[in-house]
Symmetry: none
Subunit: 220 residues, 4 copies
DNA sequence: GATGAATGAGTGTTCATTCAT
DNA sequence: TATGAATGAACACTCATTCAT
């Protein structure tokens, strides 16, 4: 019944992980993202998140407060990750048409390879953005993106490849729509149309179609 | 132990409704649609559905089997309602450009006025269309719609207002994307952009923008 | 919605059975016996009994009162049926040893072919004979049986084939034990011994063994 | 909302028991055995078991899985307890006749003092040994018992006190029948014969009668 | 007499969260 | 810091019984 613990704190070979709060936190967030994405906020199970993260449930509450706060943390991380990768595109160095095409393709492909992003956003909208409204960070992420689109639009107009009169927010919404919807509804659409929309060929053709939609919309 | 019933026999507005199975069934489906749309499949509460429908919970199980079967019934009804209203547009009698614009506007406005449709579809996709796959009816609803789009496209090509080479399914996906995404993500987008995208003015402007996107895409 | 009923009461070809209360009652009792025997009093479902009997549930309550009264009715019927068949043996005309052997074999075989008898008795004992105590009829059934055993014993003692000093109730309990236990516990015993005790060969050998036990017990 | 705890920390008789999983498990099993024995599997209430065990219902599911697994655990424990006590008899050191008499008496008395054993077995047979079939442990308990009976039989035959030609399994079934039936049906039998079969005098006389039955059966 | 829709009190089971160790 | 046993409130689902028609 008595348990003697011979491990020395700091020893990396400890069977029980100790004093690695940052790693524990990251593991929890990764596990939470997977669980929330797979089952939604209501369907996700705190026990399952703790098990996936291989941490004790108590830690989860210690680090994040409660399930809802953990949800917000996962949501913020999803937004940040998306925008971070988007920034890496370095669209500013491209030609206006190439830049717009790259933005469209990135949005489409990111949605394809990050279903958790779509799932978290859909569920957050189910809750009328209740949790996102508490976030101070996410709103700031969109300002640089809209600036970038504005710059591309202005540059394209000057060089005559884009028409004038297109609002950057309108354009962003159009790009986002085309990128998001296909994967948000891929399971119902595949079922209804009787074919798998997730194959590489389908996705690739669809991406180019949507690039075409955008460029025709912007054409003078 | 004694139960006093103050209702008058024969009065149709009795608080306790009896012997009206069809009405009970309809009430359950209406209540279920509202509850599922508001909270998702996992978040919805059977007790709450029964209370909203003003029926005994037992009836719900008698008529629909279980929560999941009720979910599928609500989902099927949502699809059918959408396609039924769409058919009432009578697009076939319009000019090709008017018809396409009407389809785009209808999709956008239906999503606007039927948030439950979006919510149910999103949640069904969270479950990878598990329940929709059991449905025999929904798949049949899309065939007439695609025929209609094909006819409009062909007619527009013959009269020179549309270019050739546009696939009907691609076009449908584009229309659906633009109609769906805006309202699917309206809460997060409103939060991020700091303004209410749900106002009449916003919606109206957005609808015309998306009609423009579609017509430019189809233009020769 | 309106339903016109053209059937005349008394017509035997009615789709809906009418005015056959005795048959309905018998059907209910048969169905109840099967359901109670299969699942016990607590596990049996009134809905299932009504469905098996092909009658409306309301009839069941009309004829029998409630589930517990129906249980007692089934229990009484089981006892009566057993003793009725036993009387048909006409043991009184046999020699003492043949008569005792016949009683033993009958008990064993009746338990074999009427598992519902065992099941109902076991369940009634689970309830500490709570329902049987309300019965006025069952107690009377045993008096003739004990008289019969007494007569056989006396006759056998006079003719020298049985020893004296054997109490009729003791003997009855011994016979009943050997007949009952094997089939009451046939599933657990078959599982533990790894062989099916329900085969015709097993049963037949066992019956003769138990006849032997009884006759050796009675032998001078 | 506020919760007042009047218990003194450190006192071992705390009303709220904590951190004693083994004791909790044992308490659950004890409570389950009592509840199952009193009401059968279908009639037993998980709530009641939790209340009797003075544990939270959740623990019951944590430790045993579900009601049916708990049933099997109680059933296995009942078998093991019976065979464990039987082994303590140390029959092997007795004379053959004394040994057989001791086995018969033990079986009879164990059934008398452990009505839960009979009740659990009866209910398991109602379910056609569905749960016992999943058990790997119970089958092993019977092998030593049959060996013991075989040894006693052989020894008694060599010393001339038993006849030959008696099968150990047949003998075991006879002993078990005589021990089991009387108590399995004690309530219905007491009701029918109009006297309490559970008195010390009745039981004692009955035990000796059944010992007599066995010894006469084995006599040369 | 006969129907089956309707009911309220429960039934087994699960959950997010807390607390003694 | 870390553990996992413990909790109470709910959850989906079921039941014997009643009642309007």
């Amino acid at each position: 019944m008595t348990r003697v613990n011979h491990t020395t704190p700091g020893k990396s070979s400890d069977r029980v992980r100790r004093r690695e709060p940052e790693r524990s936190k990251r593991d929890i967030l990764t596990a939470a993202t997977a669980e929330f994405a797979a089952k939604g906020l209501a369907g996700a199970r705190v026990d399952q998140i703790a098990k996936r993260a291989r941490i004790n449930k108590r830690m989860l509450y210690q680090y994040f407060g409660d399930k809802e706060a953990l949800w917000l943390a996962a949501l913020e991380a999803a937004y940040e990750n998306m925008r971070r990768e988007e920034r890496l595109l370095d669209v500013a160095t491209m030609s206006p048409r190439e830049g717009m095409a790259a933005l469209m393709r990135f949005n489409f492909e990111y949605c394809s390879s990050h279903p958790e992003f779509i799932s978290l956003l859909n569920n957050e909208n189910l809750h009328k953005a209740k949790y996102l409204k508490r976030s101070k960070r996410v709103r700031e992420l969109y300002s640089p993106l809209l600036s970038l689109i504005s710059d591309l639009l202005a540059q394209g107009q000057r060089s005559g490849v884009f028409r004038s009169g297109v609002d950057p927010v309108d354009l962003y919404l159009t790009i986002a729509s085309l990128g998001y919807f296909y994967f948000s509804n891929i399971h119902t659409l595949s079922t209804i149309f009787g074919r798998d929309l997730g194959t590489r060929a389908s996705r690739s053709a669809q991406a180019e179609l949507f690039v075409d939609v955008i460029l025709r919309f912007l054409a003078p």
